[in-house]
Each structure stands twice: as C-alpha cells, then as structure tokens.
Amino acid sequence: MEQQTPYKHKFLPYLLVAPQLLITLVFFIWPATEALMQSFMVENTFGTASKFVWFENFSYILEDEQYLHSVQVSLVFALATTAVSMGLSLLLAVMADRVVKGAQVYQTFLIWPYAVAPAIGGILWYFMFNPSIGILAYWLKGMGYQWNHQLNGMDAMILVVIAAAWKQISYNFLFFLAGLQSIPKSLIEAAAIDGASPFKRFWDIVFPLLSPTTFFLLVVNVVYAFFDTFGIIHATTAGGPANSTAIMVYKVFNDGFVGLDYGSSAAQSVILMMLVGVFTLVQFKYVERKVQY
C-alpha cells in the first residue's frame, strides 16, 4: 500500500504552477482558441464583417492542389533535413570523440552555428549560392553545373535543406557526443581485443547503444524541420520557385499575412496543431517508454 504524505499548504502548489499556467494560457491556449474560432469563419480583410461557415475553410484547403503540394514539400524537406543534419553530426561527433588534443576547441567551433539566428543562417547560404555573385555557385559553374535556385526547384530545395541542416548540426552534435561519451569504454575495448574492425565496433556496439539518442533526435529534428524553419525559407527562397520550397508553415504565413485570408490561414494552423499533437504522442509513447536511456 502506498503511504500518503499529508501536505498542509493548500494554495502554495497552485501558486507555484501559476506562472507556467499563465504563460501557457496567454501564449498557447488563447491564440489557439482564436485560431480555432477563426478557422470556422470567413471574414473580410479589415474584419468589418464575418460569417460562420462550418467546415468550408477546411474543405477548401483539402481540395486545394497547392495545399496538398505543400504537405508533400514539407515531407521531403523534413526527411532530407533530418537525414543530412543527423548523418553529418553523427560523423562529426564520432570524430570529435576520438580527438584527444584540443578536443574542447573542436567542440566549441562545432557548436557555433547554433547561435546564429535562422534567418541570418539562411541569408549566409543564400549569398554563397547566389547564381550571380555567390562563391559556391561560381565553383559549381566551374565544375560544369549551372546552379540556379531562383529557377530550379531542386536547387532551391537543396539550398534550404543545407541551410536548415547546417543550423541543426550543432544541436545534434552535442547530443550525439554526450551519448558517445556515456558508452562504457570497456565494451569497445573488449570488441577491439576480439578483433572487431573500427567500423564493425561502431555498427555493432556504438550505434545500437546510441539508439535512444538517435530516436530522440529524430523526433526533435522532424519537429524542427516542420515548424522552426520558417525564417530560413522566408529569407532565402520565400517558398519559390513555383512553390517548390513552400512548406506548410510557410503557406500559413503566405495565405494569412500576404493574402489576408485569415479563415484559410487559421484552418491550416489548426491542422498543424493537430500534427504537433501527433508528434507529441509519438514522442511520449515511444521515446519515453520503450527506449531506455
């Protein structure tokens, strides 16, 4: 039987959670409710007249080829960004883990990009890849490839994936490095004595032991790519060319703030909110329960 500890203060617990509740209320519950309400309404631009239309906004966007296209773009973008940033940061972490001299210096440099604001990171890559003045575009030209992210959808996608992944590498690197350092050296040494090659040691011992970290980062990176990359896309391609980089979040912005169509924009936000719910569920169900740290 569980023993209950009597707790005398009746109001203190409420007082202690109050700030957090207030923040959630003001910055999440309130705007979310507004969005939910607006998603059922059609309003004129200046909000001087509005009417309730039930699910018309939703049916409108779900039939809109452009919206379905943005879902597709989001998936491609999220998967590519996650794969690139996690792959590279794992590689860097494994290498940094083996450095003995000056390890701190390497690690510090690798963390730097994380301090750069997304929009600035985006602009840096934008300049380097600019077809007319960019150094990378110039090199590519030298190699015989006419880089043009203003016209070529694939180039544009590669540009935003690089910019988004580059920013996330530092974060992933930190977690991977911590994960690597928590793997007992004795395991690896034992495998080495048994004659396992460095690659086999990594693949059969290190990688499986790293799986909790990997899974956690997978969720974090997908969420990042879906919801946190607006600044990068806005600063570089603005969703173009021909919407090839217009992810769902970008379309919410575009329809709401450029098109001033608040109903449609709100309906899209509601769909995104539901998506966040699904991600959170996945994280709770699998990351926190099944995979042991």
């Binding site: 059609v42 309003e43 004129n44 631009t45 200046f46 909000g47 001087t48 007249a49 009417k51 452009q66 077809p131 007319s132 003045i133 203003q150 016209l151 070529n152 959808g153 603005a238 173009g240 060319p241 021909a242 919407n243 575009n254 329809d255 703030f257 450029v258 098109g259 001033l260 169509d261 109903g263 449609s264």
Partner: protein
C-alpha cells in the same frame, strides 16, 4: 519606405510639421509593401490604426472594397474644405485609383512604370542606338541582344517584377484586355485571360530565349539587377524608380534608358504603360477634426515643389502636371537624359480601358501564382500555353476566393 527613400519621406514630413503649427505628421516604417499592408490591417482590427497608410498598387482592389474602413480621398478633401484639383494630376496615374465616376479614392504618392535600361557601350560597339522617347520593337531588341552575345556578353535580356513588366504592362502597351470587365474596373467579378494569343506569343518567345540565355530570368523582384550591373546582360527591364540604384551600381559601362519594347504587328501605336508603386489611403475611425490635418498634408505633399523634388531625387513619376512642368523648367531632363522616358511613356496617349490599370481582388496572391507559373515556364517544365492556362485557372480561383470574403 526603406533606405534612402525613408530619409526623403522623413524630410517631407518634418517640412510639413515646420510649415504649420496645428498638426504633426509622424512617418513610421513598417517593412516592405506586403508587411506594411498587413500591419495596417492588423492595426485597424485592433483599433490602433494610423490615419494614413501606404498601400502598393496591387492592394488597390482590396482597399476599394473595404468601404467601411477606407475614407475616400475625394470625400475627405471635400469634408475638410480643402482646395483639391483632381484634373491637375496625371491621368495615367490617378486612373489607377479612381472609381468609374472618376472619384479619387487614394492619394498617389510614389508611382513608377517599367522602362528599358540598356548597356550603352554594348550598343555603341554595334553602332546602334535607341531613342529615349520612341518604343523600340522587340525584333530590334532581339537582334541587338543576339549580336551582343556574339560580342561576348553572356546574356541578352533580364527583367525585374516579371508579372508587372512582362504581362501587365505588355497587355496595356498592346491594348490587350488582361482581365474582363475593363481589367476589373467595372466589377470585382473579373476574369483573367492570360493564355490569349498575343501574351502566349511573347511568353513563348522568352521561353525559347531562356534556352540560349538570350533571356535570363533572375528572380521575382529586382533580384536580377546584378546581372545588368555586372554587364552580364545588355538589357534590363524594371521600374523607372530603379534609376538611382542603377546609376549607383553601374560602374563598368555607360547605361541609358528607353521606353518598353513592343510588337508593331499587334499594336501599331503603343499605348501608355501602367504604373506600379504605392498610394496613400486614409482609414476611418479617428476624430473628425484630425482629418483636416490629413487633407492639409495631402495638399502639401502634392505641391509642385515637393513633387518635383521627389521625382528628381527618386525616379518616381511626378504625380501632378505642374510638378512635371516645374521639373522641365528647371532643366532637369536636359541634364539627365533618360529621366523623362517614363513620364513620356505614361502620357504618350490617352489611357484606353485596357491601359488604365488593373483592379483585381487577391492580386498579391495572383502575382505569386503568375510568378510560379512563369518560373515553371522558364525552367522548361511547362510549355508557355500550359503555364499560362494554369496561371489563368489558378488566378480566377483566387478572384472567386476574394468574392467569397467580400460580402
């Protein structure tokens, strides 16, 4: 407005504030055109809006439809008892902002129109020249551009704001109906017609040219400018208001300005081009007395001296005839050849119903759609006909969406 223009706007405001004691005008920069409009709408919804908001030309239909939010300028001037002479304004400019009864709804401020910038050195080398007042034909431009490529220039022509310069103005100059119901002037229920014969002809040619770099696309806004500055491209079509940036950035060669090219077989006498830029809209909901200050400011703003200076310093059009006359008197055009190209092109004929302007709901998004489809055409993934058909269909869906919201 940003950058250098911001300083010039500030200067006008402070001069007005010093010129009288009663009212104070406070200019605030809210970002680019889209951001400014969004901020204005948001402010109105929160009842914290300014008296005056600067709205770009593509937002005109949205503002016109917002009868409960907008205080029409003709009414404001009348209510405030301010002397106001709409006939002194340039027809081709105010046309964009007047209703079918010729009432001015907003105050034109910074208006520009596309012109053709060219690398004079490249043309001199070929021993050819272009007039600064007569439109060259597209065939002439094609020939010069091809020759320039043979001479070592990487590309022939590049453009900024492609929907505006290559479709909207193309239609106006050739007297083609861009959108039904007189380009939307006679009703919101207008239908765009982009895949019509003559537009297809031009876009199809540009698409072919893109393959050999005779035409080189360089981005939706003015992102293509470096191609001209670096002497990559010989021709560059963009706003007359780009004049000062072109002047500041072109270092390696001499440049000059000509009117927009045209196809003589479509329209023997090219019509006026249409404007871009922005106008000032007045929002309702403030104390009646304060609107007298707005009226006073408008009078000050459109006085010949202020307008002439604004025109000369920025490359925007003078919005009134007296300001144009004053600039002429001051000898500005003689000292700066090419600076009157835009205004001559705007005023060369009386505007037809196809060259008065465009009034289409959701036009901001429609421009995006047109940009997207044109990009697909330039990239070769769609034919001109497929792209323009899709653009027409998608644009008209956006017009419907606008009607759905404006009840």
């Amino acid at each position: 407005m940003g950058g250098v223009l911001n300083e010039k706007v500030d200067r006008i405001a402070s001069e007005f504030n010093e010129s009288q004691q009663e009212f104070i005008v406070k200019p605030v920069y809210k970002g680019n055109y889209t951001e400014t409009m969004t901020a204005g709408v948001a402010a109105f919804r929160a009842k914290k809006h300014p008296h005056i908001i600067q709205v770009f030309e593509v937002g005109t239909a949205t503002m016109m439809a917002a009868t409960r939010a907008v205080y029409p300028v003709y009414q404001l001037m009348n209510d405030a008892g301010e002397k106001f002479y709409p006939q002194k304004f340039l027809q081709a400019v105010t046309g964009y902002y007047t209703d079918s009864d010729n009432n001015m709804y907003s105050m034109p401020f910074n208006s520009s129109t596309p012109v053709l910038y060219y690398n004079k050195d490249a043309l001199d080398k070929q021993g050819v020249s272009l007039s600064s007042s007569e439109s060259p034909s597209w065939y002439e431009i094609e020939k010069i551009a091809k020759k320039a490529q043979e001479d070592g220039y990487e590309c022939g022509i590049t453009v900024g704001w492609q929907s505006w310069t290559q479709l909207e103005n193309y239609a106006a100059v050739h007297n083609l109906e861009f959108s039904s119901l007189s380009n939307g002037f006679d009703g919101l229920d207008t239908k765009l017609d982009l895949d019509q014969e003559h537009i297809l002809h031009h876009v199809g040619r540009l698409r072919e040219w893109q393959k050999t770099n005779l035409f080189s696309y360089g981005g939706r806004r003015s992102d293509a400018a470096p191609k001209f500055y670096n002497a990559e491209c010989v021709f560059y079509i963009n706003s007359s208001a780009s004049y000062s940036s072109v002047e500041a950035n072109v270092k390696k060669f001499k440049f000059s300005v000509a009117p927009l090219p045209y196809y003589p077989e479509i329209e023997a006498k090219p019509k006026n081009s249409i404007i871009g830029g922005a106008s000032l809209w007045v929002l309702r909901g403030h104390a009646p007395a304060s609107y007298r200050g707005v009226a006073r400011f408008f009078t000050f703003l459109t006085s010949p001296e202020i307008q002439a200076r604004w025109h000369q310093e920025t490359g925007y059009l003078p919005v009134t005839i007296p300001a144009y006359e004053l600039t002429k008197e001051q000898g500005f055009y003689l000292k700066n050849p090419g600076t009157d190209t835009a205004i001559l092109q705007m005023t060369r004929v009386t505007p037809t119903k196809n060259s008065k302007g465009l009034r289409i709901g959701n036009f901001v998004q429609i421009r995006d759609v047109i940009n997207e489809e044109l990009e697909a055409i330039w990239a070769g993934s769609k034919t001109a006909s497929e792209g323009l058909k899709d653009a027409t269909r998608r644009s008209n869906k956006l017009v419907d969406k606008f009607l759905r919201r404006n009840f």
